[in-house]
Symmetry: D2
Subunit: 471 residues, 4 copies
């Protein structure tokens, strides 16, 4: 063990030396490197001169150089890199062989050769880049940059596609490690959580510590080559009964529950951390593995659910209220007209119920007026149920309109319960008037639910919610 | 830390449960599974039914089933698997688009699409197989099987090619860990060394321990997903002066040298461990990284060299002696004729010097006769020097005929010194009459040597050896 | 992590440098160091000169020197060390103060001071010795040496007593780590198992591996400062039903049982590894912690028992047969007289049954004669039951005569079942004619059994065995 | 590895179960447990009933109970615990045997027996307490409580003395681990740094991170049984030249220096973390081991020094100025009289120079007046040099009056340089008008310096500082 440590020490020192060498070389490339120059260097890095080890070192030094480049320099670099495409002549020849294949066997061989001919040399460069310290993170970030730039540039698109394929091979879920994150975890990793948590912002280390205490769990996927960078993480609260308020979950003053007394695990935040891994999904694997872990550790936990935002509800509702088909019932219209005079700001006397509703929901303050709240709760809840249960994504029949709903439904969850005033933050109001929803993960039903949704577009919904949606 | 351990424990238990499930399913497949049936199951595993997690589980259960199959079953399985090739129609269409591309940008996009179309579904299955416990080792071994079978089967060849590409992506040297192996290492790993050491067999744990003591080093590359399986390992002795006898190096009774007093590191055995990773080379990386490590740890070590076998020498010499062009000088002929009568077994009186030599070297015992040895040493040494320094692989001008020589020369080493009676084992005699050679790794010259050899076919050779080769 | 490794590397190097310094100093002391000289050096090491760090380094260098001394040198060293006793004058003064104390409080203070005055300076030296690499092991081994020498030397006895107290403080069970040992453990540790296993010798690595496979468990206590030295270890087999043969347990060709199908854990070997820790017991803690671990991991395991030797049986039986009080019943006597003629070697015709029995059991071969075996089994079994159930250690009423029985009874186990031909090895015959016994650890009964045995000298025995003992 | 994790998981779970059992028992004891009751329970825990394992469990449950007690309960508990002293009769008898011993050997044995007789049973209870989770920390904290209470209670004093001896044996420096703390360390440990740093308060995680970056080092000693609790830690800055301002060292906006370019390591904060380990020193070991580590890692670092506070300077100066012997020179008096009129607040016209100085230094604001500062710097510096170089602790001739000076001098450091405005914080002014001092650790001189200081009371001082002290 100690010996290994010695070696690790030496290796580390050796690497540091190499790194400083790279830094020096990088300074040569500078920020005014032009495409031609970069291309020459990339060619150099592909070249077999000095053997594979040397070639890879040259590639690595280029990667280090990239880090120091400014906006233009990076753009030049990426274009130069993208230009190392497969050889058209070789591809053409290989395509002919495929076309001419006489039988399955011949075809198989010709196809394999075509695949080889199509492999662009830039792939070899990207692979070599991975060998620098933090090289895998470097490529993940490079893809994020490419995604931001690729829109109008077919060459960059092709490069981005190659890079995605490479990353998809490396980041296959089979290679990821599921780790629990808690207050024993390295500060470096915890700092990342603070940075990456986008659903319910972490407001400092105290808030973070509160989310990692005995009745909480946080799990993340990691890649062996990015040991301190979570790829995706989920925050779980172990509670009694399905949670109905995120503020209560995050209350730093709330007492800690003995997890042995909990009966429910609430997944209240799930965050992708690496923009450069978009489209390489592991979210569904994460939820299911965490469910398995918790079910095994706590026999007392019977219910696995989320407390999820409904990000598209308000936008949808405003659009529909502005449209011609009123979503309101007669009774709801009456309620709204009754409550209108009580509002702090005046609504014209001849306003329609739809206009009254639009006016009311335009300001968060409205919920502070008790009568207004009493009037709005059943209306907004019913419409939200309808939104979640029935509304489809434009042009995609069968697919839930709400993206979070779609994610959980396609994972086999059931839309279980709406919660009024579940997120009283400004953002909560802005997205869905403070409404949040529980999706239920019932291990026995996951496959069936998934099947119904993906195959036939039918959604698993609790009877209560289905009834509410019908009004 | 403890908490992580808890989770690991639970996870492990969960996995064991799943594994036993797999075993049950495997028993269903049985050994009489026919191709059709397997194909149906593979299709099932590709199918999206039940979501990605479920699909992967189905694939995984097939991999487990494979393990239990007999010869025929495996053959059926591999053929079924290979048949999941890319869709010819989709490929044809994509090829047309490439052919019709108007400019570079269009071509880039069309090419990317063609690549996608060419991706055979079997790749997805192979990737899913990797997710079982020991899944990566499973695939490495599957490739070894494919390599043994593929000869006359184009479909299996194509499957093997795909698998190699997958493994090459995963086993890129950037993903490997260099670890020192010593007497603190897990027995499981040490057992593998015993199994994989092919150059100088390890004769039990005592011999092994002797190779891991203070003046020895053993390093191996490992992959994170095969944590106890070395991929390649090298054994190093820290000594004074270049070693000239492998038996002395391996002598269990030899005293241990204080490594701080050594001046030379001798790489005396390097072994690839995974047949299924053939063609995915990391040997050159290993030697260079170990040189760096040792140079950093021991400032006293100035010389890095090997003590290497010359596996092709004897075969070559016998062939040339049977040929028409005698490799012998007049003086050598005379020496041989003089020594002939002293031999234990009779050589016909009219035998040519070449015939005498062939007769002599045919039996290892000849070296026990002192006069014979004295006569043979200069002749066999000179011819060996010629073999190493000048002989080329048939049909490959510039390439050293000896495969070990080629390996080290292409890594940038210099052929340094021949050692008579350096390997007195039977195998040592069989390969090269007990001769071994030191290749010298001079960090300052590695690139240049590599360049000369790979670029111009010129070999780095010590002056003494060059002189000897000239005779 | 890497940084820590770096540091560990540097530290290790620094320590190695210091070690070599020590070696040099050691060579100065040489093997002809005389007591006077050593005493001077020990005084030097106690001296505050140069500060505590320097003083400890001097002590450490002495410890290193000790390692190189021959028999006489060590004896001189230990005597010199022992001579650093507490100051008689200071002790006398402190004793007076205790005697003169007026009340409890004064007495408490005076007593504390007396304790301080009694602390011999040699304790400080011993503590300083602990700081060398492997220093704790050094002290453990020093105590083993002292135990071998102390017999007739009161000073060494006193030193040994001090050292025992020091080790007892350090090796309190609260500081020990329970670790599982398996085929993943460092070879260094496994090598120790082979060395320390004294109950059922391990015959090489293959035998060892067989004892560590899936249906086996091996646990050991370790101390943080002796990370590769097991202190005590226990070997467990997971089986179906209480094991009745140690040869079957150790059979390398026996199939491996799926541990999930086992219902019984058999502790078949428990070994203390460090002679220098004699009298500092942790055996009872080990068994109970392993029972807890296994009970938690395998809900299927219902029975925890041992398969134990009966080391004192034969000796006791031979003594009693040579005595005047025959232990045999009339029926047994008849049986023995009937079987006598069938024996391979002749017994005088007028031999008594007791003489016949003595003659028979004198040779292991007797069990190969079927009639003899048939005759002996009930007799030897009954007498063995009596030995285990009733016989008391001479002069210690209430205490089981058999030491292994005493160990397990005082741990709260129950003597459960005798097994005929349970250990067919030569040693097994020599100790107890191949008989072995199962002690049962029933977690519910452990305290009560312990209480009965330790308090009243009553032994927990299974009804069957009790009946057998009665005859 | 995984298997170990499994076991750790199970063990952890088992421990948690036991813990909750303890909690239940604790609730029985309650906060109204009276001494008699506690005494009975402690006796119970000492009792052998049910075996050692059970006895220890009873002791452990008492420790858990202690945690829940209020002030009175704890006081009762500690008194009850302290009352388990050694048996007076047995002690008296053993003392007699010592007194009667005829020769050295007899005396050695009698002394050893007396030691045994003096061992109070409470020590066994304390040892058993150590076995609960966090038991060692529990005892460390218990000693801190005892230290706060013991003043007027001889029984508690005796208990505290025993506990200190126990902790001293366990916390011998040979058992401690030196670990580097950085941003990879567990948050739990970093949180402790924030809590324990008393020299220069850490103002949040950002400040902390700044102290752990590339040009900083933080090392701490840990005990294996308190893995997340630093015992003492030191903060080091790698800089160019001896640091002269702590504010500059802690400036979060200062650029990070490449440590390979530093030439000086500045120990700018050293903190003991565990009040309960007072008097068990490892500070000198820590500094020396860190010097060794850094010297080995960075060959470029030539100077090892501190930047230290002078906590007693101001107090001493005020006392001396109030006394009869003026410390001022005539010239200094003149300077002070000249500057007096320029001060913001009036000093009576007939004030003496000493009164003027006292008035000036009474307010921190004075340093903001440039003339005042110019006048004060040489005077306060000279007097501070005198304080550090010459002043002795009252009644302890040869010992430096300043406690920090004494610590470093006794470690073998040299008082090197005074720094004006080195700590501009309020506390810095309050202690020493912002002056700080560098102590130099020259590995070559440490022993000699220590010797001179401890042996003869002579202090190592740089020539410049000595000259300044002379005035």
């Amino acid at each position: 063990m100690q010996e290994i440590a010695v070696q690790a020490g030496l290796l580390d020192r050796a690497l540091r030396r190499v790194s400083s060498l790279w830094r020096d070389m990088a300074s040569v490339v500078g920020s005014n490197g032009e495409v031609a120059d970069i291309t020459a260097r990339l060619r150099d890095a592909l070249d077999a001169r000095g053997g594979e080890v040397s070639a890879r070192n040259r590639a690595a030094s280029l990667a280090e150089a990239y880090r120091t480049l400014d906006e233009t320099g990076r753009s030049d670099f990426l274009h130069a890199l993208a230009s190392f495409d497969s050889d058209p002549a070789a591809v053409a020849q290989a395509m002919e062989a495929v076309a001419a294949a006489a039988d399955v066997a011949e075809r198989a061989v010709a196809t394999a050769r075509l695949r080889r001919a199509l492999e662009p040399p830039r792939i070899r460069l990207l692979t070599a880049f991975a060998a620098i310290p933090d090289g895998v993170k470097f490529l993940v970030d490079m893809r994020a940059e490419l995604m931001a730039r690729r829109d109008d540039d077919k060459l960059l698109q092709a490069l981005e596609t190659d890079l995605k394929a490479l990353l998809a091979a490396w980041f296959d879920v089979g290679f990821l490690e599921l780790r629990r994150i808690d207050w024993h975890s390295p500060a470096l990793q915890l700092e990342r959580l603070v940075e990456y948590e986008a659903v319910h912002r972490i407001r400092g280390w105290r808030d973070l510590k509160n989310r990692l205490k005995a009745d909480r769990r946080c799990y993340a996927f990691f890649h062996p080559r990015m040991p301190d960078e979570p790829l995706i993480f989920v925050e779980v609260a172990l509670v009694q009964g399905m949670a109905d308020s995120v503020q209560r979950l995050l209350d730093q003053k709330a007492p800690t529950l003995d997890p042995a007394k909990s009966d429910t695990a609430v997944f209240y935040s799930i965050n992708n951390c690496q923009r450069g891994l978009d489209g390489i999904s592991f979210g569904n694997f994460l939820i299911k593995r965490v469910v398995t872990l918790l079910a095994d550790e706590f026999r007392n936990i019977k219910t696995f659910c989320t407390l999820s935002p409904i990000p598209g509800y308000r936008r949808w509702l405003e659009a529909i209220l502005a449209g011609t088909d009123s979503p309101l019932t007669d009774e709801e219209r009456k309620t709204l007209r009754d409550v209108a005079p009580l509002l702090p700001e005046t609504v014209p006397g001849d306003a329609t119920a739809e206009e009254i509703l639009r006016a009311m929901i335009a300001r968060r303050g409205v919920l502070r007026v008790e009568e207004a709240q009493r009037a709005l709760e059943p209306i907004l809840s019913r419409l939200c149920a309808r939104y979640l249960v029935k509304e489809e994504a434009p042009g995609r029949p069968g697919r839930a309109r709400d993206p979070v709903a779609h994610f959980h439904l396609s994972n086999g969850a059931r839309t279980e319960r709406l919660n009024w005033r579940a997120d009283t933050s400004e953002n909560g109001y802005k997205q869905s008037f403070g409404l949040m929803v529980n999706y239920l993960y019932d291990p026995e039903r996951i496959e069936e639910n998934h099947e119904l949704y993906m195959g036939e577009g039918r959604r698993a919904v609790s009877p209560a919610l289905r009834k509410l949606a019908r009004g």
